[in-house]
């Protein structure tokens, strides 16, 4: 985030790593509240989706930063749309599985 900087750049990445802990703690609370019954593979899917989403944003903006404006926006639109659809699908799966487990209980 702060190229050529000896202090700000490492601080930025440490802070970004730290807020990922807060992010997943928050997601954990939301998941408990909605009784999603998160297990290892559900976490893996959710984490994988988040990682892909963040990488897509970073990739698109990297293209913008290197003056590939067209490519950056098209990439964001194409991959971003696919990921939003995939994210909605993942959420639906989590909710359906929750409802099924509640019916069995």
């Amino acid at each position: 985030m702060f190229p050529q900087s000896t202090v700000l750049d490492p601080l930025f990445w440490m802070l970004l790593g730290a807020i990922q802990v807060l992010l997943f703690a928050g997601v954990n609370q939301w998941a408990k509240e909605h009784q999603l019954g998160m297990n290892w593979w559900k976490w893996a899917l959710a984490g994988g989706w988040w990682f892909s989403f963040v990488l897509t944003i970073a990739g698109a903006f990297t293209l913008l930063g290197e003056n590939e404006g067209n490519a950056g926006w098209y990439f964001l639109g194409f991959a971003g749309t696919l990921l939003v659809i995939a994210g909605a699908g993942l959420l639906k799966v989590l909710l359906v599985l929750r409802d099924k487990s509640q019916q069995l209980a």
Binding site: F2, P3, G26, Q29, T62, E66, E68, G69
Partner: protein, 507 residues
Amino acid sequence: MVDKKHSEEAAASLSRRNFLKMGGIAAATATVGAAAGAGFVAGRDPDANVGWGRTEAGKDMYFNREPFRVDKAPCLNIAGPIERPEWGDFLFNRVMSMGGSMHKDGWKPNKDWQQIPDPRVREYYSRYPERWPEMLLSFREKVKHDANLEKHRDRFALAWAYSGAFGTGLHSNFPPVPTAHPDEDDFKWVKREPMEFQSPAHASKLVKQMANKFGMSLVGVTKLDPSFVFKNMMRGMPDWGEEIPKHWKNVIIFGVPMNWDPMYAAIGYSTSFDAYYRVKQASGLMAAWLGELGYAARPQFPGADYEAMMVPLAIQAGLGEATRNGILMTPEVGPNIRLAAVFTNLDLEADKPVDLHMGHFCESCKICADSCPSGSISKADKPDTVVRGYKKYGFNQDSCWRFWQQGPSETGLGCRVCIAVCPYTRKNNWIHALVKESDPRDPTGLTRNALLAMQHNFFYYPDAENYHAEWSGGNFASYHQPPEWLRSENYLKVEKTWEYDGNWEGI
């Protein structure tokens, strides 16, 4: 009392849960913003400018070629009897000879190539008579170029000044151009009896380090293959046959990219002189260093001081592979590389060529051919011609040269559009590094196909005609718009009367 305690605990728990829930949302929002910001500056980061960033000697910008070494370069396919290149095969020899005939002897180019005074030039056009109309046109286009150029100085003043500065440096006499027989001239560097290296491997290792210290980004070593040494030419000698000096045993070949942002803004804002200057100086420094240790040296450097062809030697040294446009393509900088070399009698351990599947990439890509403003690059699906025994893509150097004379550069030299648009000509940031590392390791070709699908559908390429100058039907388009430091309207008292056609940051 107990109820109150439970009530307080419940409230605290609720508060903690709410904090985590809201904090999670805030963290997600911040992460998205940080990803966008970090991505944007990664694209802007000058550290990604291989050869020009602060990590000039940084390891992370270099591709590890070792897993891809092969005994035989996949792009040097023999399809006929091998022939050494002739004097006339070298474009600059022909151009300089015809220029001399025009200025000294009053010769005027006309439709009949058989009236060209120099028999060596005639010999070339007897082999390629269809190319003569292009060369003939180049003379007329140069006149038009010179008549129109000054009208556009306000726009290109800083770019031409940048190019001119390096051009002045380039045309200094270091390293000195040979003036005597190579058995004498190449030894002018030698200061003492040769100091023996522990082994050829030690010598190669040190030579490569020295090339980096002399400013070179990429370096390789190969044995001198006579197939790529010109016949009938030797600098410093008025007449020469087919002899190759015995002390030309090994080749140290190296290169540096052109400065990235001007290169992307080809034609008018780009120059080859920056990289030419640097490789030329490095070839001289390498020759002097070898001489200090007692070894002979024959520098080969741009613009036209060569006894051999650089690209195939670089391929043999494993720097990269051949491309559709005939330029060396490297994994780090694509075809954005300018080469120089030093022939020496020092015993060196040669590098092996590499197989990075670049040939497959060129077969499917064709972006350079589609973008070429002079239509000089073959659009065939596979290499479609045999040149001196090697199978390669057809390339018309005469129509390429004709376009140089049309382009909006002050010198009428160079175009560089095929270099700028090549998908391999990408900076060393994380997305391109990932692709460049993945594609050669993917036997299925999926990476290549996905990448090319994006290249063809997401990226903007100006129409080939638009790269032309206004006086020849274009709009001075460039693949990228020029960097801010080459825009004269940002620094000079000029009135901006033009619009840019090219990629920009899109925000």
